[in-house]
């Protein structure tokens, strides 16, 4: 799966969790939390949706690797390989 596929998977999940957020203006290098109204509960949902939809596990100690869209892609890509 390409990096842009993985990026889209994360964006789709964010759009479902926080339907009021505009995901088209996200700066990939900046913290998601700073750009969108996402709290720790929402990050849990990203993790839960990754497991539910794609059988991808993110252990609790790795939650911080989901901080930016860029870091999501680099962390998750090997898991989708």
């Amino acid at each position: 799966m390409t990096a842009s596929n993985v990026r889209q998977i994360v964006l789709d999940i964010i759009s479902d969790i926080a339907p009021d957020e505009d995901v088209t203006v996200i700066d990939d290098a900046k913290s998601l939390r700073e750009q969108l109204d996402l709290d720790s509960m929402d990050f849990l949902d990203i993790v839960m949706e990754l497991r539910k939809r794609h059988k991808v596990e993110v252990p609790q100690e790795d939650y911080s690797k989901l901080a930016t869209l860029e870091s999501c892609v680099s962390y998750l890509s090997p898991k989708f390989a």
Partner: protein, 470 residues
């Protein structure tokens, strides 16, 4: 039968927890003793033959706290919308006009715009306005969701900020009566939650009352595949020799699960869990109430009263504790549900009057005396209404009064307590591994608080914790 998780009680917290777990494919069942959902925020019906129909009443709901406007972010209400994937519009919120705290010589109004309360304080307590600003900053900067916090007295904290005791009493009055299990005081974290919920955010009411919320939650639960069983009474919570929860006994039928979330109250949970029995069991709270509901043949004209909720106190010192006698009519919460926007202007008028009560005294009464005393409560409530809207000449079409015993009978909360035990377990844990407390006794109160309690405990112990068990 084996489940991933069992939720006991289909109140607000139980339904929310069930939804969260089922959303992520946990096999979950909610067990409810009653034949309907809602718990402490349920509804009931009364026939009234002379008008040939059945009337439905909400039990708890005077006001839904934590009001937000559509699209507002980062607030408790918006968090629950996201977590349960519900839409703002489905709640059909009708905001309050304003509410007021009414003491013998002074009144403070507040609304869903916090500025009103600021202005009121500056006009009525000009010397205290700077201190009030200090309190506001303290509340804003406080992390009330920190689950590791211990008990701090709100009264002590307020005394360090304000010189005027009357203002302290007036600020505390609505917060205590809308959510304190403790007498005359509350935990400061709870104070902050309530201050934000009532004063920063404010009140609304869903069109259709509490049933609107219950229906939304039940529908969501069904969509995500959660199971719910009514008239299912848990007689015992079963544990292994290792002290791990294994399931529940339904009086013959056994259901197994490694995780149980109990919303029935902390002391109530201990009572059915032999492994939790100990001399230091959580204490049953003392705060319980009486409510009189009146239906009038016409609406109360707005020029006679345009407030939605009146926090009334006529005593020299406001006292929040069980009544010395059966009930205390020197203070009350009076709700005018017609004064939520978007309610019809014609037709019947409704007023609800809540007094503090004393469970033990009601428990002692014989059947006849009980009915008689309830009538007396109704008369006291009408008298209070008369002093508030002296020119109102509406005729009472229907009235209903519920007592601490009624609350106990239908919610199974010991002693008819509404705000639960004074011993909260903020992280939800008990001495039994896998058994967690959610709802009122986890410490988040009110409808929004309970829903968030169910969500956060399901997240913490059912979803995040799930990986560690395998």
């Amino acid at each position: 039968m084996k489940y991933d998780a069992i939720v006991i009680g289909a109140g607000m917290s139980g339904l929310a927890a069930g939804i969260r777990l089922a959303m992520f494919d946990k096999k979950v069942v909610i067990l409810e003793k009653h034949s309907i959902s809602g718990g402490l925020n349920s509804y009931y019906q009364r026939r009234n033959f002379d008008q040939g129909g059945v009337r439905q009443f909400d039990v708890g709901l005077h006001a839904l706290t934590n009001f937000i406007k559509k699209g507002e972010k980062g607030k408790p209400f918006s968090k629950l919308l996201k977590q349960l994937r519900l839409s703002y519009d489905d709640f059909k919120l009708c905001p309050q006009t304003h509410s007021r705290i009414s003491f013998p010589d002074v009144e403070l109004k507040f609304s869903n715009e916090f500025d009103l309360l600021m202005t009121e304080v500056s006009e009525k307590f000009p010397k205290e306005i700077d201190s009030f600003a200090v309190l506001v900053e303290k509340v804003k900067g406080f992390n009330e969701l920190d689950l590791s916090l211990g008990y701090t007295s709100s009264r002590d904290t307020l005394k360090k900020i304000f010189k005027d005791d009357l203002l302290i009493e007036m600020i505390l009055c609505p917060l205590l009566i809308y959510g304190s299990a403790w007498e005359d005081d509350m935990d400061f974290a709870q104070f902050v939650i309530m201050f934000k919920s009532l004063y920063f955010e404010g009140f609304s009411r869903p069109e259709g009352g509490v049933r609107t919320i219950i229906s939304l939650l039940l529908k969501r639960l069904e969509e995500v595949g959660g199971e719910i069983r009514f008239k299912s009474s848990v007689t015992s919570i079963l544990t292994s020799e290792m002290g791990q929860v294994v399931g529940v006994d339904l009086g013959g039928e056994i259901l197994y699960a490694p995780i149980i979330l109990s919303s029935i109250g902390y002391p109530e949970t201990v009572r059915i869990t032999p492994a939790l029995e100990s001399p230091s069991s959580p204490r049953v709270g003392a705060m319980t109430f009486l409510e009189s509901i009146f239906i009038f043949d016409k609406k109360i004209p707005l020029d006679q009263n345009n407030s939605t909720i009146v926090f009334y106190n006529n005593a020299k010192n406001y006292s929040y504790r069980p009544a010395t006698n059966l009930y205390d009519s020197t203070s009350a919460v009076v709700c005018f549900p017609d004064n939520y926007e978007a309610q019809k202007n014609s037709g019947e008028g409704v007023i609800r009057v809540t007094f503090m009560a004393n469970y033990a005294h009601w428990k002692e009464l014989g059947r006849e005396e009980y009915d008689l005393k309830k009538e007396q409560v109704g008369e006291s409530a009408l008298k209070l209404i008369k002093t508030m809207v002296p020119r109102f000449d509406g005729k009472v079409l229907f009235k209903d009064i519920f007592s601490p015993l009624t609350i106990e009978r239908y919610t199974w909360h010991l002693n008819g307590t509404v705000y639960g035990s004074i011993d909260k377990t903020r992280d939800g844990t008990t001495k039994v591994a896998g058994l967690f407390i959610i709802g009122t006794d986890q410490g988040f109160l009110g409808i929004i608080g309970s829903i968030l309690s169910g969500i956060s405990m399901a997240n913490l112990h059912g979803l995040m914790g799930a990986k560690h068990e395998v």
